[in-house]
């Protein structure tokens, strides 16, 4: 860990300028008129109770301008299974299927621009549809129509970016209701130039608090994760790799994670 801090410190002292879009935390900067973004990534995750998931995920910001945007997200799971080898020396058959789909609506309501830096805030509504398979275990969806509202903010300068999101997820079942708080820090490693050639590091923190869970203490209803990502940007493309570690995870909800690895790319259209 100490070595990692030193590497980051040394790299940041090289005169870094400008970063790309964050990996897991929502970005507060809109793409502008007639622009959209297509994002495709592979995710490999282990959830509680030895559930293994591999998925291909698609995010598509379909339409928008400098103030608002509408996007859709979907996933397809491959070879998902419950690894019961340790318990019964057996393994159930893996299976494939679609996960839940969602629609995102974002509206930017605050913009403070300066030369080479900006602070922006936006409101976001995410509506999730239960399109994922819920008949087989491990479940590929949540089997509920869920609505999440959040406030996203971010300060970005030529040297670094700080991003945050505070929101609430509503589900008809109490177990699916939670507060979320995400925080991201982006650090570019190369000087900015056109055409774009950039390497960025992202340090992100994600947390959820489940107020209706019946844990004896606050911390029993809390989960927090740290993700380390590296991003390589070339022209309108970015390529990203992310690894997630649980920082604190007593809560064992369906979407809780024990570990996660993700690689992907995105393209600005």
């Amino acid at each position: 860990m100490k070595n990692l801090i030193w590497i980051v410190f040394l790299m940041s002292s090289l005169g870094a300028t400008a970063q790309g879009p964050p990996i897991l935390v929502e970005k507060p900067i809109m793409l502008g008129q007639n622009r959209s973004e297509l994002r495709l990534f592979y995710r490999n995750e282990t959830r509680p109770n030895s559930k293994k998931y591999q998925s291909t995920n698609l995010f598509y910001d379909i339409v928008g301008n400098q103030f608002w945007s509408i996007g859709v997200a979907g996933s397809y799971y491959m070879n998902s299974y419950i690894n019961t080898y340790d318990l019964a020396n057996d393994k159930v058959e893996p299976y494939d299927g679609f996960g839940d789909m969602s629609i995102n609506l974002k509206y930017q309501f605050l913009r403070k621009d300066y030369v080479g830096k900006t602070y922006r805030m936006l409101g976001k509504i995410k509506q999730t549809f239960p399109t994922g398979d819920y008949k087989n275990d491990p479940y590929l969806g949540n089997n509920e129509y869920e609505t999440a509202v959040s406030i996203v903010g971010g300060y970005e300068s030529l040297k670094y970016g700080i991003l945050h999101e505070l929101g609430y997820n509503y589900s008809p079942t109490k177990e699916g209701r939670y507060l979320k708080f995400d925080l991201g820090f982006g650090l570019p490693l190369l000087k900015s130039k056109i055409p774009i050639r950039q390497i960025n590091l992202y340090f992100e923190y994600q947390s959820k608090y489940h107020p209706y869970d019946e844990g004896p203490t606050y911390f029993d209803n809390f989960e927090a994760y740290y993700t380390q990502s590296i991003q390589f940007a070339v022209g309108v493309f970015t390529f990203e790799a992310t690894y997630l570690w649980p920082l604190y995870r007593v809560h064992d909800g369906h979407f809780s994670k024990k570990e996660m690895f993700q690689i992907g790319s995105r393209m600005i259209l």
Binding site: A18, G20, K193
Partner: protein, 209 residues
């Protein structure tokens, strides 16, 4: 008669090719903090018909480009285009430039890239003139520079494939002289000779700001 008509047609083509008026735009933009921001602005402007010399500097927020006069836009239209990319225009300026083709044949392509532009540069005396012209001609691609202390105008002839107005103005500012879009560092200005210390608060000539 046929020969006369042919000669007239050739002369007409040469005449049309000899003089093509253009408008050089410069703008300062706030809010761009990453390469994707400059990419958004670049994409918005690069498809404008006839655009050349498109240049965006992330660190200074400067945008510059040249459009043929017949395809030019008003300042307000350019501001609106910048706003639609999601960033804030601080100011937009336009000045007429002339692209001259001095010869036909082998040298035509090379000369076609020569552009003559006048820009405002603050200064006082003969020493200032030497310093401004020397700094300007040191920029790769600049063919000629002539600064007039009366009008404070620098007439510069340069190859638009090799350099840009932004680069030229940055170079001039780096030796201590404020230009229309670039401010000289205080430390450099303070080290100028006494007679060269121009009034930094003086406004630009009417029509320039």
């Amino acid at each position: 008669m046929r020969y006369i008509l042919s000669i007239l047609v050739v002369l007409l083509v040469i005449f049309q090719g000899n003089s093509q008026e253009s408008v050089a735009y410069t703008a300062k933009i706030k809010g761009m903090s990453c390469n994707y921001c400059t990419n958004s602005v670049n994409k918005k402007f690069k498809n404008l018909p006839g655009i050349s010399q498109l240049n965006i500097d992330l660190e200074t927020g400067m945008l510059s480009f040249v459009l043929p006069k017949e395809k030019s836009f008003t300042i307000e239209e350019i501001e609106e285009k910048i706003k639609k990319t999601g960033y804030t225009p601080v100011w937009v300026k336009a000045s007429e430039a002339e692209i001259g083709v001095k010869a036909m044949g082998k040298n035509m392509e090379e000369n076609n890239e020569l552009m003559t532009v006048s820009i405002f540069v603050k200064g006082n005396c003969g020493m200032c003139k030497d310093r401004i012209e020397e700094a300007t001609t040191k920029v790769k691609g600049v063919k000629e520079a002539n600064w007039d202390s009366e009008t404070q105008q620098l007439k510069v002839v340069f190859n638009d494939k090799k350099t840009s107005l932004v680069a030229i103005e940055k170079k001039i500012a780096s030796v201590g002289h404020d230009t229309e879009h670039e401010e000289a560092p205080d430390s450099v200005y303070n080290n100028l000779h006494g007679c060269c210390k121009y009034d930094r608060e003086a406004t630009m000539p009417a029509g320039k700001e």
